[in-house]
Subunit: 190 residues, 2 copies
């Protein structure tokens, strides 16, 4: 279960064998069964999670009961309520498992110690966070700039093979489209 | 001009006197006069900028000629077309000076060398980028979750004293409100 995250980290930084072992030793294995929640609004989130296996969705539920999907996470992605995790404030999001999931969690305080002990992780998380930040800005611009079809194709590129794992309405919600509009686009592309 | 950025950096990381001098030596001083552009769509952006003095706005201009304001930057903020800067792709944004500005730029390649020479900057930019990422996620959630008045008050907190420096329509655009709605909110709050 831990070899995947090691390859994921070693793509970006170099670590000695001892450093690799130390890193692996601080990870918490976690399983979440389909339809159960990793995070709920009000939680103070103490971990961020790397997805070893499975698929999760992070969404905000508004006062009228409408879901607004912010993020999906599949294998090799990170997920958390990042505002809660970084600022230690109550979570606003639900994070729900769409499939049975195997995750590896890093605790916030343990991560701070890791930065002191193995400063290469500053680089690792700087690069991962920069990518997440740039992707989020791109996504905001996409909704202003691109057609629904272009945004769907971009989604398929960003989340390869995920389409089969999600319901049509989940992808539509993420893209800010009506489910019937997305169905029409998908038919046109077949 | 450079003492401000030094305090800004030393709030987060420790540097020896030599490291401080090395950092200051790589910064490029830049002035941009009111109403001129720091970045235009199509540019490959090679620098990110720290604002010493002045106020800038980053916006996307859609096909119909509508502006969509993504970010303001005032003293002590960083600004760039981050997608272009990090991925070296053509910029999509205009970045325009709303006032005469004094900026300090860091070149992307020079920054990569800085990370090798003074790894504390990995930490500095990890923390800055994490804050920017979390703010952007909060801003997306705010539009789903909060009333126009709450979002205006949040804006005043995030950008203290900026109201007097911006036109009503600029703040309204950033908040996704009609200018007349914002005027009404501001009157109510007086």
């Amino acid at each position: 279960m831990k070899s995947k995250i090691l390859s994921h980290v070693l793509e970006i930084i170099d670590l000695t064998k001892n450093q690799q072992d130390e890193f692996l030793s601080i990870l918490n294995e976690k399983t979440v069964t389909k339809k159960s929640f990793l995070v709920k609004p009000g939680d103070i989130v103490t971990e961020e999670f790397y997805v070893v296996e499975g698929c999760l969705v992070a969404y905000y539920l508004d006062e009228l009961g409408n879901k607004h999907i912010l993020q999906f996470a599949v294998e090799d992605w990170w997920i958390s309520d990042f505002e809660s995790f970084f600022n230690q404030v109550p979570a606003k999001l639900y994070i729900e498992a769409i499939e049975d999931c195997k995750l590896l969690g890093i605790n916030k305080e343990v991560l701070e110690v890791l930065y002191q002990r193995i400063p290469q992780f500053e680089r690792f998380f700087r690069i991962k966070t920069t990518k997440a930040f740039v992707s989020l800005r791109c996504r905001i611009l996409s909704t202003l700039q691109k057609s629904a079809k272009e945004r769907y194709l971009e989604f398929c590129k960003d989340y390869p093979d995920i389409e089969k794992r999600l319901a049509n309405y989940q992808i539509a919600n993420y893209l800010g489209l009506k489910p019937e509009s997305l169905s029409r686009i998908r038919k046109e592309l077949v």
